[in-house]
């Protein structure tokens, strides 16, 4: 649904995007991560046929971004980093204006406008000038604009920035719904928790180049090593000996906790739990040691050299 190969963009002497290769299927969310100025926005602009690539190719919704720009733009919903709203216009007129630009029939347009304003809680403010809107409301309206023509591909730059937690949850749920509806979604975000929650795969871009790409679980496995589990006890074990059954590997141990790795956690974890309880140990929790996307991100962007880690 969205594919690029060696996509490159040069501005005079400056290489903004350097050989980006991506593949996102329908019903998938790709989170494009990277520091400011890494080339995310330029990549998105090429994917919307707003900027033409200096090299490589990209196909969006089956259309070539260079040869079929009008079709690409008609198939894409874009939420830009700067919302670019018209402050003197009422919200419903604003959406109607874009609906007309996307050649939507009047009745369908009105229906979609009503639905989206209702969904994002803006119905009561539809006649107010956009200039009177709060940051969060503006963000929701810009998102409504991107969704208006029901595009099969969505490119969302910071979709929940400036939103209160409730609104952000609303938007994240909307993105999940869209994924379920087989839309192809690319989100550019600095919110790593959000990326982790929404994305099926991530790509980290640095100085125009993709340096890490793949599913989150696979990346964690590859960059941070095997999963660790932690057992916590209600009281210190002191010097008490513990029988650790075969099938797992004890990696570290504290006064009231222990950590281990297991090749087959589905079988081993219940077995271990049973064993520890049988030894009379006061187990209060067993859980996977959290490993955040932030750890992967920081490790990737701070790594020396330009080696690419691809774990698709």
């Amino acid at each position: 649904m969205l594919a690029t190969e060696n996509l490159t963009k040069k501005f005079n002497d400056f290489l903004a995007v350097d050989g980006v290769t991506l593949q996102v299927e329908a019903g998938q969310v790709l989170a494009l991560l990277g520091p400011n100025g890494a080339g995310k926005t330029t990549t998105v602009r090429m994917l919307t046929s707003v900027l033409s690539p200096s090299g490589g190719w990209a196909r969006v919704a089956g259309y070539d971004v260079v040869k079929q720009p009008a079709r690409v733009r008609a198939s894409v919903g874009v939420l830009t980093e700067q919302h670019g709203l018209y402050d003197r216009m009422p919200a419903d007129q604003y959406l109607d204006f874009f609906g007309q630009l996307y050649n939507m029939q009047s009745s369908l347009r009105q229906k979609r406008i009503d639905t989206l304003l209702e969904h994002f809680g803006l119905t009561g403010d539809r006649k107010r000038s956009i200039g009177e809107y709060s940051k969060g409301m503006r963000q929701k309206l810009a998102l409504a604009r991107a969704l208006l023509h029901e595009p099969p591909v969505l490119l969302l730059d910071e979709p929940t920035s400036a939103m209160d937690p409730e609104s952000a949850r609303l938007v994240r749920d909307a993105i999940k719904e869209l994924r379920s509806a087989e839309r192809t979604i690319v989100i550019c975000t600095h919110n790593l928790a959000e990326a982790e929650e929404l994305a099926d795969q991530i790509a980290i871009i640095r100085r125009g180049r993709i340096i890490v790409r793949g599913g989150i679980a696979a990346l964690k496995q590859s960059l941070l090593g095997p999963v660790e589990y932690e057992v916590r006890f209600a009281s210190p074990l002191n010097s008490r000996e513990i029988y650790f059954p075969p099938g797992g590997k004890l990696t570290s141990k504290g006064s009231d906790w222990l950590r281990y790795q297991a090749d087959q956690p589905h079988g081993f974890n219940p077995y271990l739990l049973h064993s520890l309880l049988a030894q009379g140990l006061p187990v209060i929790s067993l859980q996977e040691v959290p490993r955040s996307l932030e750890a992967i991100y920081l490790q990737a962007v701070n790594a020396p050299g330009d080696e690419v880690l691809d774990v698709r």
């Binding site: 005079n12 830009t80 003197r88």
Partner: protein, 478 residues
């Protein structure tokens, strides 16, 4: 066709609605539409009353009232310049253009939608102002019967001026990322328009309204060129590929140098590869330039037909001096030095540089016109010399042809290079900004000028200094 115009209408409608929501645009339009024409009515009335005492009211009716009509039409359309800077540069600055660029609109639909939106309200206000002014004249019983042709001329002139300003503003706006920078650059529009208004004022007071058609025609040509250049450079790439308004001299020099030297490693290679390539690009401009120069000669001949030599004062002695080799026009050979050659060469050099500077700001038009002036003079004199007993062909062979055989091709090449530079400015180039296109065109012009035109001028100056006088003496006698 109509389907592709629909988005243009959608853009125009939104922009016009938006303008009418902004009191900062509405207020000046209202003032210039209603109050300013009334003020001009009062001014005309007062002046008529004043000059009636001296019996000069006819000239006031015939000159001042039409002039004020033109002024009343012009003032409201100046608002279109402000609107267009706001619409093009303002949208880029506020990033509201990005969602538009992400929509299925084509570049020209967006451009045309905005262009029409910038012109329409100001133009309607202008026409309304003209109407108010004309009604005011009737109410004041100033007995001036407005000639229908003049009214039509004023209406067309106003529309064309608005189009020139707005299409110029688009080009200015595409070179900036902020309204502030666009406002600074808009002096490139305001100053020529102010000069144009002065010329038009002279025409109005002169009372030769037929000449206004020439002004209208000239501005239509400029508007077409500006719109062409605007559509060439108003592109998604140009608008979003620019991040900050920084003058990067190092990059500019590198781009020009790259265009000038190309891949050549030696002077010989430069001539073989670069100069030859640049000359090949002039295959179409060269015949066009020859045609322009032929037209210039024709204009000179035509002008000569209206000259009364007896009444022209110094013209006759000058022509007589051309028909003989004696006199100041041919200095004795011994006095001539190499320095004289150099002076002649510098004179031609100055003309070429003046032409290219004029050409840069007028898509090549003024540059070519500047070169045509010499040929108008040539045709003019050639048409007049028979009146002092010298055949025109003898004048050409004796005084022009020896060095002209080298100098005229050099002028043709220089003019063709300037023409091409103008064409490059109005031709869209993928992945290239106006600045880059301009620098590359300048590089191509420099290749032709440095590589061919200047050496030819040097040879021509040498011939003009040492050979032409000899041939003149030989043909015309001592």
């Amino acid at each position: 066709m109509f389907a592709s115009l629909r988005p243009v209408w959608i853009i125009t409608r939104r922009e016009v609605r938006d303008q009418f929501r902004d009191w900062r645009i509405l207020f000046p339009i209202l003032v210039l539409t209603l109050f300013f024409p009334l003020l001009m009515n009062i001014t005309a009335g007062q002046l008529v009353n004043f000059v009636q005492r001296y019996g000069g009211q006819d000239i006031v009716y015939q000159r001042l009232i039409p002039f004020l009509l033109m002024v009343v039409g012009f003032f409201p359309i100046t608002v279109s310049l402000v609107i267009s800077l706001e619409s093009f540069a303002g949208e880029t600055e506020r990033h509201s253009i990005e969602p538009l660029l992400g929509s299925p609109l084509t570049d020209w639909q967006l451009y045309m939608g905005k262009l029409v939106a910038c012109i329409t309200p100001a133009l309607l206000a202008s026409y309304m102002g003209v109407l108010v002014y004309l009604i005011g004249l009737q109410i004041q019983r100033l007995k001036w019967n407005a000639p229908a042709v003049l009214i039509v001329q004023i209406l067309i002139l106003t529309a064309v001026q608005s189009l020139v300003m707005v299409s110029g503003a688009v080009i200015v706006s595409t070179q900036t990322t902020s309204v502030r920078a666009a406002n600074l650059l808009s002096s490139f529009i305001i100053i020529p328009m102010a000069l144009l208004m002065q010329v038009e004022a002279v025409i109005m007071f002169w009372g030769q309204y037929d000449v206004l058609w020439m002004a209208i025609l000239g501005q239509i040509v400029i508007a077409i060129l500006l719109i062409r250049a605007g559509t060439a450079h108003f592109s998604r790439e140009g608008l979003l590929g620019r991040s900050v308004d920084v003058l990067n001299l190092r990059w500019a020099w590198r781009t020009f140098k790259m265009a000038f030297t190309g891949q050549a490693r030696s002077v010989g290679a430069w001539y073989r590869q670069e100069v030859r390539g640049a000359l090949r690009q002039l295959l179409i401009p060269i015949p066009i330039m020859i045609l322009f120069l032929a037209v210039a000669v024709g204009v000179g001949v035509r002008l000569a037909a209206n000259i009364d030599l007896e009444a022209s004062g110094g013209m006759l002695p000058y022509l007589e001096s051309l028909s003989t080799s004696s006199g100041d026009s041919i200095p004795p050979l011994g006095v001539i030095t190499v320095l004289g050659v150099f002076v002649l060469w510098l004179f031609n050099l100055r003309s070429i540089f003046a032409a290219v500077i004029l050409g840069v700001f007028s898509f090549g038009i003024l540059g070519v016109l500047a070169l045509m002036v010499t040929f108008i003079a040539l045709g003019f004199i050639a048409a007049l010399v028979p009146q002092v007993g010298m055949p025109w062909w003898l004048y050409l062979v004796a005084r022009i042809l020896p060095h002209g055989l080298v100098e005229i091709p050099a002028i043709i090449l220089a003019g063709a290079a300037i023409l091409r530079m103008g064409v490059v400015m109005i031709t869209p180039e993928q992945d290239r900004t106006v600045g880059e296109a301009w620098l590359r065109a300048l590089g191509d012009w420099a290749k032709v000028t440095v590589g061919v035109v200047l050496p030819l001028f040097l040879i021509a100056a040498f011939i003009e200094t040492f050979v032409t006088p000899q041939i003149t003496r030989w043909l015309l006698g001592p």
